[in-house]
Symmetry: C2
Subunit: 428 residues, 2 copies
Amino acid sequence: MATPNDPAIRSFVPVAGDSHFPIQNLPFGVFSRSSCGGPRVGVAIGDFVLDLKVLAEAYLLKGKVLEPDFFRRQQDLNEFMGRGPAARLEVRRLISDLLRQDAPTLRDNGALREHALIPRAEVRMHLPARIENYTDFYSSKEHATNVGIMMRGPQNALMPNWLHLPVAYHGRASSVVISGTDIPRPHGQTKADDAPTPAFGPSRNLDFELEMGFFVGPGNELGRPVPIGQAADHIFGMVLVNDWSARDIQKWEYQPLGPFLAKNFATSISPWVVTLDALEPFRIAGPKQDPEPLPYLRSSGNWAYDVQLEVWLQTAKTSTPERISASNCKYLYWSICQQLAHHTINGCNLRPGDLLASGTISGPTPESFGSMLELAWKGTKPFALSSGETRAFLQDGDRVTITGWCQGDGYRVGFGEVTGKILPALAC
Amino acid sequence: MATPNDPAIRSFVPVAGDSHFPIQNLPFGVFSRSSCGGPRVGVAIGDFVLDLKVLAEAYLLKGKVLEPDFFRRQQDLNEFMGRGPAARLEVRRLISDLLRQDAPTLRDNGALREHALIPRAEVRMHLPARIENYTDFYSSKEHATNVGIMMRGPQNALMPNWLHLPVAYHGRASSVVISGTDIPRPHGQTKADDAPTPAFGPSRNLDFELEMGFFVGPGNELGRPVPIGQAADHIFGMVLVNDWSARDIQKWEYQPLGPFLAKNFATSISPWVVTLDALEPFRIAGPKQDPEPLPYLRSSGNWAYDVQLEVWLQTAKTSTPERISASNCKYLYWSICQQLAHHTINGCNLRPGDLLASGTISGPTPESFGSMLELAWKGTKPFALSSGETRAFLQDGDRVTITGWCQGDGYRVGFGEVTGKILPALAC
């Protein structure tokens, strides 16, 4: 029998060739619609959401790992994430079997289908999990190098530790928001190089950061590191991340303890969590690591993901977005398994639903840089838009949309998008 | 009628003169005991815990703000914290009135008293709240100066931003643990100054940090800063904090994004949350702030707290602890109201149960330094213990206990203690 990843299988639900959500994807998310009560778990298929609560109520999710009524109770993905790969693979198989072209159960039951398959345009998406811990890495060598050159010159671009460990810091969990949330321009302290004292006001150097993130599946006990060979079993799936940044606030505040208010006003994520299972066919070799990392960071196999990433900008004066960056997840120097193994090597405990993001993903060419800071080189090289406008940093009314997908042979396994619009600073 | 803070009132529960928990304190915590089911909310009085679930079930918590059965349902303090000062003041008043020497309701009902008042020695304490966000400040000028001198010399000890804003970073919420939890020595990467490459192994420079922290009461909406004049209404109460630190790991990893694995293996807190109401009589003027901070950080009134703090060390070879530091919360340069106002000025949302810690609290004299890093001056001046041992950093078997109290006229409003013992590194 075909596996859920088989490129040949098709669903009875119509799926366009460039859709991000063919039957080979089946990403999980949390949604609601006004007529149907509170949030529940769904799976994206074509332009529809498959309601797992409805399937559970119809006794169509009978497996050996999860209780058949499991998804009647779930309002977020935390508990499902915590059940691990066996539960995820089972549900993925059950749903794939229900959605196949040749499977009559759902296809031929009009009343059930109408309940279970809801047009995506009619639902509201929520955060996929209660995120109690959010960590942001700094895993793109190109990004770290670019920022290092701007700060310290080309001779000392990478810090001495950078090639030895995946640098990271804790971000703010409470201000992770779902795609579509507007982002008011934050206030803060900034200090011009030639000013004697800091000033207060709305940030003038507002930026996006093109990132990807993963959700933790089963956690680990405090004091018990996860060996790198088991790291993938603790990862549920991935999303797109825009880690909004106020560069002028960051510059003044970040020494010596790292970014704080420059980042914690908002971090946006895409709503559909693409499982490691769906991404399996798109694993490739990552960049060669030289020097070889310490043993606890050494893994075998390919742990980079070939995910094409794009950033689109639409200004208040334009009616269509314009692509301003094209990067790829495969450029990341440190893999998600290395990130997770490093995070826990001191015994730090991860929990189901924790979010670990990659840091800005920049590629080797200027077109592939993942932030305005790099695209306009610290404001020194504002870039032109087709509207005739120029940008060094984000202006009020600018909408940033990040999209990403893996290109298969005749189909895509995609992430949808994460989008957000900059609003003028609120009165303070 | 006397207020709950009146030094003259006494409880029918015996309270020693040096007890941290007289009727003037009434701190809130979460406890369980094997015979009584799951965690519930309690209040410390003398050597007892008053069980608020039992009081609610006996209809003895009838007020105007909270539902009478509120504490039947609570397994942590988050929801109570979120209800704000009016609910807190009401419950405080109701409990004070029940515990007074001249109040017969509980005093003269033996069966009820036996259920409601449990010896503290018989209960297990839990984290007072589900902590979803933990922020650590760096608010002691003496500590920041000491560390700055060690790192950069006396000319550039304080970073340029330090006097203008309360520097902070996000810590790890999942690894905040309750007092009494043992702390295995963490593994990690370190690099000696003269080594060409980093090494891996157990941290050799393990440290404590003497801190205090506060729990957020009602939160704020994302995008809506809390003005400093309203900050206190968003603060529930305070605890003692020991922010364990691996200095060798920190030194190698922290550039440029701040401490990560050096801190997130464990942060210990004391179990009893002392309310701002109980601390009210001990508010004093803090250090003069020069330069005057920006308007959003200016507050009127006294917002420092006169809390005497002590650190005690007991080694594996000794049978009694020895005091190694005596500091005071009043030394903090940035007040808790300034911390909260700064944290939200960019719109960052705080939630009930979030923990904000002060950073290491060092005083002006060497005896008042709040970390081994400072007490033994980066390992260069190991200090002698009365047992004949010396210490530069913590050794396996060392137990660190932090205690703190406000000294009233004939009574103390105290925090109990936060304690933890260093275990040898686990096999990795």
